[in-house]
Amino acid sequence: MTATAEAPDRRSYFAEGWNPAAWLLSTDHKRIAWLYLVALLAFFFIGGAAATLIRIELATPAADLVSDDTYNKLFTVHGIVMVWFFLIPSIPATLGNFLLPLMLGAKDLAFPRLNLASWYVFMAGSLTTLYAVIAGGVDTGWTFYTPLSTMFSNSHVSLAAAGVFIVGFSTIMTGINFIVTTHKLRAPGQTWFRLPIFVWTLYATSLVMVLATPVLAASLLLIVADRVFGIGIFDPAQGGDPLLFQHLFWFYSHPAVYIMILPGMGVVSEILPCFSRRPLFGYRFVAYSAMGIALLGFLVWGHHMFVSGQSSFAGVVFSFLSFCIAVPSAIKVFNWTLTMRKGSITFETPMLYALGFLGLFVFGGLAGLFLAALAVDVHLTDTYFVIAHFHYIMVGGMVTAFMAGLHFWWPKMTGRMYSETWGRIAAATTFVGFNLTFFPQFVLGYLGMPRRYHTYPDEFAVWNMLSSAGAVILAFGYLMPLCYLGWSLFRSRRAPDNPWDATGLEWQTSSPPPQHNFATQPEVTGPPYQYELPEIDRPAAPR
């Protein structure tokens, strides 16, 4: 990444220097976005490596590659790394960090130094956990359930939990920064209902970050306190209640799944109008439903505890509320679909990814409704059906949206165009590979294959083989962008300022943007997504 230095007249943010200090100590949100991007990619591939080993083990019914104990540690690393060190910060800390000030017409986030600090805190926490993994591993699953994690596990639970705890601080820092920025640093004329949906979803995400993460901190703190000092609030032998841990953990972790998906919804809401040349259908509904999801997401956590021993009345309440949360998600899906209606759709790479998101998210969300039904969940809980459900949303939805956003804004971030052909091939490959990997897991779960075992009866062999084969294709789908995007940094066409002819303030500045984002303070005079049919010459600025 050294050849992108700009001609001196344009003075892009890359021109501020290439020595390590210029990157590691810069408070420029655009550079911090890159710091996060590099770190998160590394974690994505670490988590991916664990997944690869898991899929190799599961390719055949017998235990041929790893022991049961190692297998436990593998899926734990996979879960912890993917959830906390990749998905939670993924879009907010990279694309969000880069774009939020640009979309608001601001010079930077409200607290630039806090932003840089959040990256260091993130690295400190994630490396702590990584050390715990290298030093021997953790075998509790990413959920750290008590009493397994407090009484029975003799792996490095405390250290791993401490790392996650520290990463939580960085999440809260980012959340505070985004909330304050959105309130205080909007461009003149940019009222709340002139904000791009991506900003709305980042705002909703940040609210969830600030409101949920401390509760995770409390639950992890109590686990560590139990292991280190014997403070047994979750320990039934002392009169404590292990279910309380699940309440606290899921009070965080269900909203956390919306931390993971909301920014993806925002990205797609930017891309679909652009490549359909249509304004976003029902803008206000999409904005409100983001806020609705942020609120309702806090009311349903008990659906992870249907068979745990919570009262059956609570089960019914949580089941009902879980159905309710499908409503705002469905509103969004309908609005996206109607946005494309009668549009003049073109299938560039970001659009292909966005369409992939749409299909996979709907599929995963519908599976969520099955699981939210109490009686059905008793059969499906802790099977591969659950695994398939959340991978459809988290990988099929969120990671696909991340790729969509990365391709959409890559020209803005780097000033370079990537190979469109390779982009389309990669988008198609991930879609096929993803479905081949995870659709069989729905079937397996329905047939009763439990999650978290390293062996299984012979009758599940075919579906597992398919799944492992799909994983190979999926891996190619993710490795390809690494190559052609990396390649594009060094030798490919320079990007124009607005390659997609998109609306939004970020496209009004140069590609890549100058250090302070805009030469003059931009103003906003109209609603977002002013796309018109048919395509004629039209200034990119919203009017």
């Binding site: 409101l211 806090f298 059956s312």
Partner: protein, 86 residues
């Protein structure tokens, strides 16, 4: 906030503290907990309104505090809903 207001608040806080501690020597059953809770809320309100100048910090900050209280209700309500119906 003036020095006078701060001083009055401080005295009020100490009086409330005396009240709540004194009340524990009078056996009132559940009444004791009620008094303690009421006094705690009063003290928190005093500190918030005067020392943290919530009175004059505008809609946005007031909303922020309201969000906190609302979310505490959500957490407690839905969790205790489980414990009270076991």
């Amino acid at each position: 906030m003036t020095i006078r207001a701060a001083l009055l608040t401080y005295v009020g806080l100490l009086l409330l503290l005396a009240l709540t501690v004194a009340s524990t020597f009078v056996p009132l059953g559940a009444g004791n907990s009620l008094i303690n809770l009421a006094v705690a809320v009063a003290k928190a309100a005093l500190i918030g309104m005067v020392f943290m100048h919530l009175r004059r910090s505008g809609l946005l900050v007031s909303l922020t505090v309201a969000v906190l209280l609302f979310w505490i209700c959500l957490m407690y309500g839905l969790t205790l809903n489980d414990y009270f119906t076991r």
